[in-house]
């Protein structure tokens, strides 16, 4: 061993701060979850108060659980393990503190704005644009602190957990920024730059990969570090962990479209999403088995160490959730499961079983070491485990019953498929009520377990004293950097690129391009084989060097995830509009309808109502003609939805009269007996905010929505004219509402759904028609 021996003291204070924050926000997120699950059973729990309604609190639950709970847990694990794996203290105490306090401030801002109804209207991406910018900035702070620490490391090799962290940092930044690109209309409101099908695709490219790269890859890194620590033996197969990493990075990013199966999304993208989802089975189960087999010869620790229990159950749930995910991505299965509780059960199998159990294992392992003491009560930790496990099983099993039950009822027909067997949507809701109640019980048990963890960790902290870890290391002269030239101008990389390029050209090129590419493909493949036999050692050297150089490694990961995103999104963004709208094109909303739509988004209606009718017999019979791409092409944001706690609204316009909507929104039970929808009485009394209406329409025009040139006066005149017409029609039904109230705007929007389109013949089709020769 050469070099100077020094003792490095780690910054464990920041780890303690993130740990405590995660426990606190975990309780908040789970409490919100149990509360909104109870609201679905007992509508009275909405209290007729705007900021307590399900539509506003559900985003609070999801954002708190993902970004506040798992986010803080992830930062605790990453900062703690990275310091040990790199044998270096975090690069900057200032950046660490800025990261922590900035993140908490963001969470507080989200917790205030979401119940107040400030929302972008996209799932897990609801936060308004000023908070989006703050998230991006704090993420950059995190990235700088992390990569700076890597640059100062005293351990040459990068352990596989670090790879997972790198992939997380790079990919989340890319996903978050692209999906949150917006044009502000004011200080607290914006419209996303993507609209309709493009917005749907970008959203689920982000939404799916938020699961992949925020809830999965960092936790896998944590698994690869803490599971070996907990059982005191190395990971079962380091080789398998390498394969696991690269496969996940390559495949995950492509699978997003499986959230949009059977919608109006182009079929090639749906197939892409399904195929890559199925391929995910291999790496996910490889990773799960690698985790479980790490316990070889140490299974007895399951009895004695509570954290090992949580880790093992967490990894098992990872396997179960990653089996179920691809299963739900099979188009025929998805036809039944989509929009139902089955998806909710799947998500919670992952979030409670994988994320929260891994968090619990991490905290039970970390707390005694960070405060130099013993865990206060192993018995309480064991009790927490069994309560949590039973809670998850109740939750997931009830959703497994509820989802298929409702899905089957909604698609059931009678009289040889000529009529719906259960025409009233509420019938299907009534059938799943016992399961919805069981879910509340399961969630409450899990929450009780979490409170026990909070108490146990608190008592552990009280019984100990904060300590920082330290390590004696030999500081050596830095190894020569690999450099960009060495990264890319190298035989393995060039041969791989050649095979990919010539393979694609052979498969898809025409005539001589195809023949030439095939010849070149054969030549390159043979050359690669011969070269490998002759220079195998130097190829290996390149790879070994890559493992010790974080910058080139990061670049390759970035390329891998970037390609997956670009391949899906660019064709849709660049394609000529007349190729994607099919036979209909949307008519822009009137000023009044636009205000109504923003109220729809503010109240989070998309959390329970979809606006996308799939091309199935039962759906067309229930909701109307299937949805076309062109009908929502100007929707910024799109509102296709992902769950039907209530019926689809894509063609609700004209189905009921204005009076029905007033009565329904004021008290849903008055028109739909047995409904669990919240009441919205304030819509009848609150004036619609229209000060920023001209700014909103200007932004819509910038985004490509074909509004004609209108002065502010013309916008307001149009608004008043339509509002007074609706108020007048209501008056004719003995309902008196002022034209300037929110409910008038919302009714205008709802009555337009499914009617705001005109026939459209693509330019290519028109040209073909003109040149068609009649035989």
């Amino acid at each position: 061993m050469s070099g100077q021996k020094v003792t490095i003291e780690f910054n464990d204070r920041i780890v303690r701060m993130f740990l405590i924050a995660s426990i606190f926000w975990g309780a908040v997120g789970m409490l919100a979850g149990v509360f909104i699950a109870a609201q679905l059973n007992f509508h009275i729990l909405n209290f007729d108060m705007p900021w307590l309604t399900f539509g506003r609190l559900r985003p609070l639950h999801t954002n708190a659980s993902i970004f506040a709970f798992v986010g803080n847990m992830m930062f605790a694990g990453i900062y703690h393990s990275t310091q040990r794996l790199t044998k270096a203290r975090l690069a900057s105490d200032f950046l660490s503190n800025l990261h922590f306090w900035g993140w908490q401030l963001i969470i507080v801002a989200a917790a205030i704005t979401l119940p107040l109804g400030f929302s972008r209207g996209k799932e897990y991406a609801e936060l308004i644009w000023p908070i989006n910018i703050a998230v991006a900035l704090i993420w950059v702070v995190f990235a700088i602190n992390f990569f700076w620490t890597l640059a100062r490391r005293n351990e040459k090799s990068l352990y596989v957990a670090i790879w997972f962290y790198i992939a997380t940092i790079i990919t989340v930044a890319m996903l978050y920024i692209v999906n949150h690109l917006s044009i502000p209309t004011g200080l607290l409101h914006s419209y996303p730059i993507f609209g309709g099908v493009q917005d749907a695709l970008v959203q689920w490219w982000y939404g799916h990969n938020a699961v992949a790269f925020f809830l999965t890859t960092p936790i896998l890194g944590i698994m690869y570090y803490y599971l070996p620590k907990a059982v005191e033996r190395p990971v079962y197969s380091y080789r398998l962990s390498v394969v696991h990493f690269w496969l996940l990075v390559f495949i995950y990013i492509w699978a997003g479209p499986h959230h949009l199966l059977h919608t109006a999304l182009p079929d090639w993208l749906q197939s892409l999403g399904m195929l890559f989802s199925l391929m995910l089975w291999a790496p996910s189960w490889g990773g799960m088995l690698n985790g479980l087999l790490t316990l070889r010869g140490a299974w007895d620790k399951l009895r004695t160490e509570p954290e090992v229990k949580f880790f093992v159950a967490g990894v098992t749930f990872y396997g179960m959730a990653t089996f179920e995910g691809p299963l739900l991505s099979i188009k025929s299965v998805n036809a039944l499961s989509h929009y139902t509780d089955w998806t909710i059960g799947h998500v919670h199998g992952g979030s409670l079983g994988w994320n929260a159990f891994m968090a619990a294992g991490l905290f039970y392992w970390l707390a005694p070491r960070l405060w130099n003491t013993k865990l206060y009560s192993k018995a309480a930790a064991n009790m927490h485990f069994w309560l949590g496990l039973f809670g998850i099983l109740l939750y997931v099993a009830s959703m497994w019953v509820s989802g298929p039950t409702q899905g089957l009822m909604l698609s059931a027909t009678a009289e040889n498929g000529t009529i719906l067997k259960y025409p009233n949507f509420v019938e299907t809701l009534t059938a799943i009520r016992p399961m919805m109640l069981t879910r509340v019980l399961g969630g409450a048990l899990f929450l009780t377990g979490w409170f026990m963890l909070a108490w146990n960790i608190f008592m552990t902290i009280r019984s100990g004293r904060a300590v920082n870890g330290a390590m004696e290391v030999y500081q050596e002269a830095p190894a020569p950097a690999m450099g960009l030239k060495r990264t890319f101008i190298d035989a393995p990389f060039l041969y791989s690129a050649g095979i990919v390029v010539f393979g694609c050209a052979w498969a898809f090129g025409s005539d001589w391009v195809s023949v030439l590419s095939l010849i070149l493909l054969v030549v390159v493949s043979i050359s690669a084989f011969v070269h490998l036999q002759v220079s195998g050692a130097s190829w290996g050297e390149w790879y070994e060097q890559l493992l010790e150089n974080s910058l080139p490694f990061t670049l390759l990961v970035t390329i891998a995830v970037f390609v997956g995103g670009v391949v899906q999104i660019v064709p849709l963004v660049t394609v000529e509009q007349d190729q994607v709208v099919e036979d209909r094109i949307q008519i822009p909303y009137t000023p009044l309808e636009l205000v109504g739509r923003d109220i729809y988004i503010r109240e989070g209606c998309y959390n329970c109502h979809s606006q996308q009718i799939r091309p199935f017999v039962a759906e067309v019979m229930r909701y109307g003609d299937y949805s076309r791409l062109g009908e929502s092409i100007y929707d910024h944001p799109y509102q296709w939805g992902s769950k039907r706690t209530g019926p689809d609204l894509a063609r609700v316009g004209g189905k009921y009269n204005h009076a029905w909507h007033v009565r329904h929104l004021e008290n849903p039970r008055s028109t739909s007996e047995g409904s669990n929808m919240p009441a919205y009485p304030w819509l009848l009394t609150d004036k619609a905010g229209i000060d920023d209406l001209p700014a909103k329409i200007r932004v819509q025009r910038i985004l490509g929505v074909p509004y004609p040139e209108m002065s502010d006066e013309e916008i307001y005149a149009q608004y008043r004219q339509q509002a007074e017409k609706i108020a007048g029609e209501l008056q004719g039904m003995d309902i008196y509402v002022e034209p300037d109230r929110e409910i008038i705007a919302l009714i205008a929007y709802l009555q337009g759904l499914g009617k705001k389109w005109e026939p459209y013949a693509p330019a290519a089709a028109q040209a073909a028609e003109k040149t068609e020769v009649v035989p």
Binding site: R239, L275, Y543, P571
Partner: protein
């Protein structure tokens, strides 16, 4: 059902391109992982198990 989708022509190549890219890189990475040096493997897989010591938080550090 899926034939109603108006997307035609060149966009259809993406699923097979995805396959080609995926399998090429998978095979290469798989070979690299299998051929990793045993000494590197031993070193890497034992990194989490290295010993550390603890130090009480000094007075300058608030908790």
């Amino acid at each position: 059902m899926s034939s109603r989708v108006a997307f035609e022509a060149w966009q259809m190549v993406f699923p097979p391109i995805g396959f080609i890219v995926f399998f090429t890189l998978f095979i290469w990475l798989f070979v690299r992982a299998v051929r990793m040096k045993q000494s590197s493997l031993n070193h890497l897989e034992n990194l989490p198990l290295e010993e550390e010591i603890t130090r009480p938080v000094t007075h300058g550090q608030s908790e």
